[in-house]
Symmetry: D2
């Protein structure tokens, strides 16, 4: 095996420590440096990883010739500027979601990465989750039949933010999963929400996404909820599947359930037969998704490959977020995404 | 106690047998007659209640002078005509939800009942449910603080209908509960859905209701879902409550959870403190809601009282349904309800 | 179809009303008469089944020539005397569990039924439960491999009794299921318990049953528990199964789990490989077990067949109960059942 | 704060890595050295903690004058010899449960630690668990009334062992908790089990413990079970509590449930009233129990204090295990523990 990639981590607050742990543990990378303006966050990193350089200045990382790659886990509004600066410094970049706060910025990052021949990857972690990948394969192999609709609930109490709303903070996960599972962009999106805490940013957001062929997506994202729920239901014509990320015993349930048309009755109305059969809980190889993501980043850097969640992938999510934000601001009107 | 009220039941299909059982069991009523065009449904009634008259003709009930009151549990599209005919025949009427398929019809029924001095009641059963009433008292007593939003999921596999959509078939329950809990009509409503099975009626519907003061309601209703879910979450500023109608151990959970503003940080941004405390599962006196509803109907008939879910109550729900239907047909635009 | 069998029910307290409902609803029987010394219990029966004769005197039923069969749902200590009297009066008899409070009495009833050529059946309802039958077929078809052990928890709060203990009141269900599933009598049994409430009868009982071939059974029965649990786990060499009677979604889970010997390590110690695969929740046709039981009784009466839970079946359970009672009284010593 | 205590860890297999992580993370200790005969286990430690010495020879640690304390997480049969050697070398010792495989050995360790004035602590981790401590305070403050009985289920699939049985491997946790909660030793114990996998060591064990005053304990321990269950139920005269270590939402549920004597009925039999009230899920400060344990060990070393789970505590558990083992070998006879 080649030498581990020396990685610098920018942002050691909420999510950064998880990245640090994985970058330290996998053999493909070495956690070479950590950066955060908060001395307490930095102190924790120094204690856990005494070998790593710690600095409050991200430029110290970007100018360090021994650091090949940078992982950015800072507040969303700083993603674009930091990623641009890192790419300009010649670093490979893994940036947390969302890639940027606008599609223009996302496009600029893509162009820059292409120009500099550097890896640009977005941390859409659920595309690396064994459960999501299993659902993807069930759909692709036709196990669920034609997909009718998918709805997702991602709510919790906490991580209240005052600079970005629940749409930009939480829903990128669901949008990323929906595009991945259905293999296509939505044609339009509408969004409604409530700004209960500070009257400015939405704490709760409901999204409706229209996909080609009549497929529907619905997302409920909130940081103002009594329970932690991370559940996604895929309703297909043949079978239905539920992916519950906090389930004790098997994160995926496949229901052999469907509704079939029996033909018309004497009045010409359609009659339906409901079929309700077995439930299967497939075994999943439960590697930690973040570990899979970090290994994938390292392999793309080492082999010059394009990541699954590359800049274009991140741009697609940003475009949906932009359209949803526009809908939110217009009181829920449907915003088209067709180019 | 006065003599039991002799009641005739029209419609012995899906829900009718539950009404029959309660009308037979409570001392305030006597199940005097059953009517259904389907001989098999009628045969079952005859076997269970050999004392009751059975007939395929509802007019036999309406013209029977010994029958004081009529309960209508037929397909929704027939509610108006049957209720009108029963009122015109001088009967007190309990009609299943929705009261009618339009507000004009609902208004006509209200006027007719007033004119004939007969009880007109709608079967909005959840207003008689001990769990919903408990939530109502928690809200009214300020236990939850200011209500921010309520969301409801009422999904299942089955009861696929081809003449009315999931909005008119399922969502009346949630709309009735929301108006009851919040004590006010919504100001506007928007709806999106999918017509997956027959391309005509929505199998799945998502509603957003805007209430005065910024309160939000969200309803997800579907007959095309792998699991039976009947869950409603009330998020208040002080506490949060979940009412799960299929929970094993206590249908209501009260979470001593909230988010409080700590003041601004040095950059002028709001800081929040998340409080996560005990959970309480209050004991409920679990009488069957349908029994409570039937007893209430009998008492209103006997005492000339106005039911909690009277015609005006039923009309309010129909008006929201109409607005939501209009939104559905317009692709989800927000439809105002302020008159 | 032949005429329904006219059945008299003795005992309309706790369980009797469920029997009454089923005897009334199935076409094979007619609930002809109800008997209970408590006028309130009798009044409820009269209201629900106005056609049925009601009487406080069981002899009225036994001497009624129009009554062919008698169902006995009285306190356990009266089962023997009432069943004997009914058989002597020429009635077919379905008696609730346990068949009697001792094996001598059970044997006497069997002999009497044989002599009078009457059906004697015990209400070991779980042998008619689709979930238990499914587990039985999984075992018989080798799906679980060799059965190692089965443990059962049947606890709840309530039905506190002061004349019989939890062993005789609750555990007959589990003993009946264990003998049915394993197809053999236990060789020995030991029992421990606690007499917390009145110092005389056990509120809580733990049983260990040794079956041929080293198979083990364990039963925990109690009426002094915070939660209603009715769960049985079957651990086999190839797969494991859990039957949870209060589960929402599928009462049976089959775990493709097992432990296999890998061979000896260098020190001569056995090494094991744990296999943890998919989980399957098979669909069950969920007819009400009590309805299946009542239909079976009626068919045995009409066709002169021997019921699955005949007198001999009831005797086996009584013999285990007797041995367990002896163990309880001796402080938990193992009591042999081999004759 | 004084300098961190330099700790050497012996045993880096199953549980050792968790100890290593905590010893590394808490400021009171420094993970100075790791020892394991398996080079792969040692390699992992070296990667995660590059500052720590790694060696396959425990004597390297015991003879290192810079190491003040030793943590022993090796197979149970080696606990005694290693702990003795460490104490003789003048080290403070934290040894995993069980303290030793016999009470003589445990007594010898206690004497040696006293003689050398060194801390001897056993890793009975659940005495440091916030949920167990909460239950303890509920009992001590009389919230549950008089404790009738406690039963515990600790089962899982995996960690199959061939040198010690499930009694010695799993049940020490439950025995430790029971003695802690009830504040007294059991007077006698009986045990039954099954040796399904290798015919020698019990994979499944059922224990019954008799405590003073008629209190009963029951333990079900197994490594041959389809589900991971770690549940303990405390039934008191006033309230009941369930501690479920794998529960999503609150590990403790307190049931306001009880059974009260109403007086005698006309036949002189006791009548009972079942009270079933609210359920409370108290909030727990969920620090990691192992972290609390490690901090406690460090504080005892630094301050010369006696740990909560000192040698005497460990000896009590070993004495119960010895008695249970004797009962197992005698087919389940009750073995007295009175000295």
């Amino acid at each position: 095996m080649s030498n581990p990639i020396r990685v610098g981590l920018v942002g050691c607050g909420y999510w950064g420590p998880n990245l640090a742990r994985n970058l330290h543990q996998i053999p493909q990378t070495e956690l070479a440096a950590c950066c955060d303006p908060d001395p307490r966050a930095l102190g924790k990193m120094r204690m856990l990883y005494p070998h790593a350089i710690t600095t409050p200045e991200h430029r110290d990382l970007f100018t360090d010739p021994d650091i090949e790659a940078v992982v950015i886990a800072t507040p969303a509004r700083t993603h674009y500027a930091l990623a641009r600066e890192a790419l300009e410094a010649g670093k490979h970049v893994l940036v947390e979601k969302p890639l940027a706060m606008g599609s223009r910025q996302a496009e600029a990052l893509i162009a820059l990465a292409d120009e500099r021949r550097r890896v640009l990857m977005v941390g859409h972690i659920f595309e690396y989750h064994p459960a999501v990948r299993k659902i993807k394969s069930l759909i692709d192999e036709g196990e669920l039949g034609q997909v009718y609709y998918i709805y997702s609930t991602r709510v919790n109490l906490g991580r209240v933010q005052s600079d970005i709303n629940a749409l930009w903070s939480i829903a990128p996960h669901d949008i990323s999963i929906l595009i991945y599972l259905l293999g296509t962009m939505p044609q339009s999106v509408s969004a409604r929400g409530g700004t209960f805490l500070n009257g400015v940013v939405e704490d709760v957001v409901f999204l409706v996404l229209s996909f080609p062929g009549g497929m529907l997506g619905h997302v409920h994202a909130s940081w103002l909820d009594p329970s932690k729920v991370r559940r996604m239901t895929v309703v297909g014509s043949r079978r239905m599947a539920v992916y519950d990320d906090v389930a004790d015993e098997g994160k995926i349930k496949i229901y052999d359930k469907g509704v079939y048309r029996k033909g018309e009755d004497i009045y010409g109305e359609f009659q339906y037969r409901v079929h309700s059969g077995d439930i299967a809980i497939p075994r999943l190889d439960m590697a930690e998704p973040l570990r899979i993501e970090c290994v994938h980043f390292a392999e793309c850097v080492r082999q010059g490959r394009r990541p699954q969640t590359d800049g274009a992938n991140g741009l697609r999510v940003v475009r949906v977020l932009e359209a949803a934000q526009a809908s939110l601001e217009q009181g829920g009107t449907t915003v088209s995404l067709t180019v």
